[in-house]
Subunit: 354 residues, 2 copies
DNA sequence: TGTTAGCACTCTTTTGTTTTGAGTGCTAAC
DNA sequence: GTTAGCACTCAAAACAAAAGAGTGCTAACA
């Protein structure tokens, strides 16, 4: 079902204008602003065709036209002008990014802020998923005889530490033993391969003090599991409230509740991210009630071969896809390069003989 | 300006009903539901008096009455029935609290969720302010020659750790030196007393490697400063959107933007918390534009003598003060006792000879 | 003197009606 | 194939009328 070039142009004009003005667009308007060489009557004929073909819909018999999901889809896939992040924007983004280099999660949040800020929509991301990464080593550091710090280090040198408070004192030898057994049993495994069973083996190996170590091992186990759970980050939660499609509080509430529902968001991101490729989901193409009237642009960022995360932008169907897509592409690209060479980042670098 | 007992009763009836129904309350309604022994005409006279005295206002000439800020104030200070957290609620709260004991910040978030859930309003808290607490010690742990873990331990055994990635390798002696100097210079000081000057002294003491350590020291300094900054936690962000006072999106948006504005929230909490005492701020009694039409119940929780945080609930003037106050009192009380004896908490406890 | 029935009056809310205007589809002419 | 012209449609705005909740005031009552 190839559209004539003129139909394509007119469809594009409708989508562009609807994205800009959020009002059904009529024949006269298109004639005036996009095709002065044509009369409104001609455009009217074309619009009627496009409607019949399913690219446009009317809100009532005598209204202007609004893009259907198919209309948006066609627009995104072949009509829209690829928006190039402009030089100034690149400069601004870079400046923002370079100024604020801290830890990975802080950095991801910062990137999200930029995404939300530059698109004026709501940006979402998961923290990186370490479950496919391997555990390099486990440290247990005694702060004093009542306080131990548990430290997990992954192959990507990501560190997770949690304090453990004890009821009765322990001594150095005990901790050294524990540490050595933990490392021989767990170091080198990928996080998702570490199960209760490993801990049973560990408990056995530690022999005598069976009861004593149960709690501490439980804690180690749950901390490892926490590295598997990825957090949800949000930015620009309230950005959409200014848009006409959210002038109804009930709708606004539904949206806000959706984005604060970690479980649903996790699922949505998971179901709609497509490996390395940026993906655009329009309306409820996916038959997900929650996404009714909402569109999603999702992409993946990469910390290492096995450690990746998902980030995206959510907004009304009527969003500036071009801008959103190019921003996300640019930002995820930058997380990838930055993260992969993080050890060389200028802020934390130290050289003993500097 | 003492009110007659009858006037007090009528004022209480108005506030109670307005809190419940969110509609201006009229004389007949009060007569029927609260004072069947009086006629609506009598009540009308009393209402007119209360209005003249400033306790009530009308929304238009022939409307029912709504409490003024003075009306709410009087209600909160002397009229309302103190709500007692019921046995079931106590049980529920306790169960929720006891089930989910993890780290302090996780715990505070959990308490906030309970506060927001039981009041159906928005709950806010700051993380504990450590600036008045003392730094017990500083650890630098080598994970490998390129990765160091910085660990700060406070007198309350709160631990903050941050990984440092190095560009070129360092050796054990260097780290040992650094650690020893850091500890002799900084351990024992309260966090807010640690300044750039201390770090100048440290750099001097380390002598030769002046340039080399600059970055790492900078990082230690900024991490210490981060312990001074307290985070803002939120729960129940969207709870208010169901209320009639937020049926206007613009208002809802303003509110949501306010609670996501960390700087403003920090300031509001700071300006309105009153040491140990629970404080109720009604409307913009404090002349803060942002709090227009909003009320705030704030209290303090205590981790140790010098380490405290602020938590509160924010909602429309028309809130169930009684319930909110008693919930907050109960919850902050519980953080206090729990935090102060945290080392004995059952979940993480371990005993070598258990 | 405090209370209350009664009534006129006010103002919002609801409901219904009319007008306006943007936009369409169709027809006939170019 | 394009376009001018016109009748028609429908939402939104503007206006009008009616309903209803509530007040204040007056005059009578206990």
């Amino acid at each position: 079902m190839e559209l004539s070039e003129r139909k394509q142009k007119i469809l594009k004009a409708v989508v562009d204008d609807y994205i800009t003005f959020a009002e059904p667009v009529g024949s006269t308007h298109i004639a005036k602003n996009h095709h002065p060489e044509l009369s409104s009557a001609t455009i009217r004929n074309e619009l009627a065709d496009l409607e019949e073909l399913g690219y446009l819909v009317k809100t009532h018999t005598s209204s202007g036209r609004v893009p259907s999901e198919l209309g948006y889809r066609t627009y995104v896939d072949s009509l829209m002008k690829k928006y190039m992040v402009s030089m100034e924007e690149v400069a601004r983004l870079k400046a923002e990014m370079e100024h604020k280099i801290k830890e990975l999660d802080y950095y991801i949040k910062e990137v999200l802020n930029i995404a939300a800020g530059s698109t004026n929509l709501t940006a979402i991301a998961t923290s990186p998923d370490f479950s496919g990464g391997t555990l390099k080593k486990i440290e247990l550091m005694m702060l004093d005889s009542f306080n131990i710090l548990l430290i997990l280090v992954t192959e990507t040198d990501t560190v997770k530490s949690r304090p453990i408070k004890l009821k009765s004192p322990v001594d150095f030898d005990f901790i050294a033993d524990l540490k050595s057994v933990l490392n021989t049993q767990l170091a080198g495994l990928t996080l998702d391969k570490i199960t209760k069973q490993n801990f049973e083996v560990i408990t056995e190996q530690l022999g005598g003090n069976y009861e004593a170590v149960a709690n501490i091992l439980e804690f180690v186990y749950s901390t490892i599991n926490e590295m598997n759970e990825n957090e949800i980050y949000l930015s620009g939660e309230t950005n959409l409230l200014g848009l006409p499609e959210f002038k109804d509080v009930a709708k606004a509430k539904k949206f806000l509740e959706l984005i604060h529902d970690e479980k649903k968001i996790r699922e949505i991101l998971k179901n709609n991210s497509k490996g390395n490729v940026l993906n655009v989901v329009i309306g409820n193409e996916q038959d997900n009630e929650d996404l009714d009237q909402l569109s999603l642009v999702v992409t993946t960022y990469k910390i290492s071969e096995n450690v990746t995360g998902v980030m995206g932008v959510i907004g009304p169907n009527r969003m500036d896809y071009s801008k959103v897509i190019s921003s996300l592409e640019y930002l995820s690209e930058n997380i990838n390069t930055l993260a992969l060479k993080a050890p060389e980042n200028d802020n934390n670098e130290v050289n003993k003989n500097g």
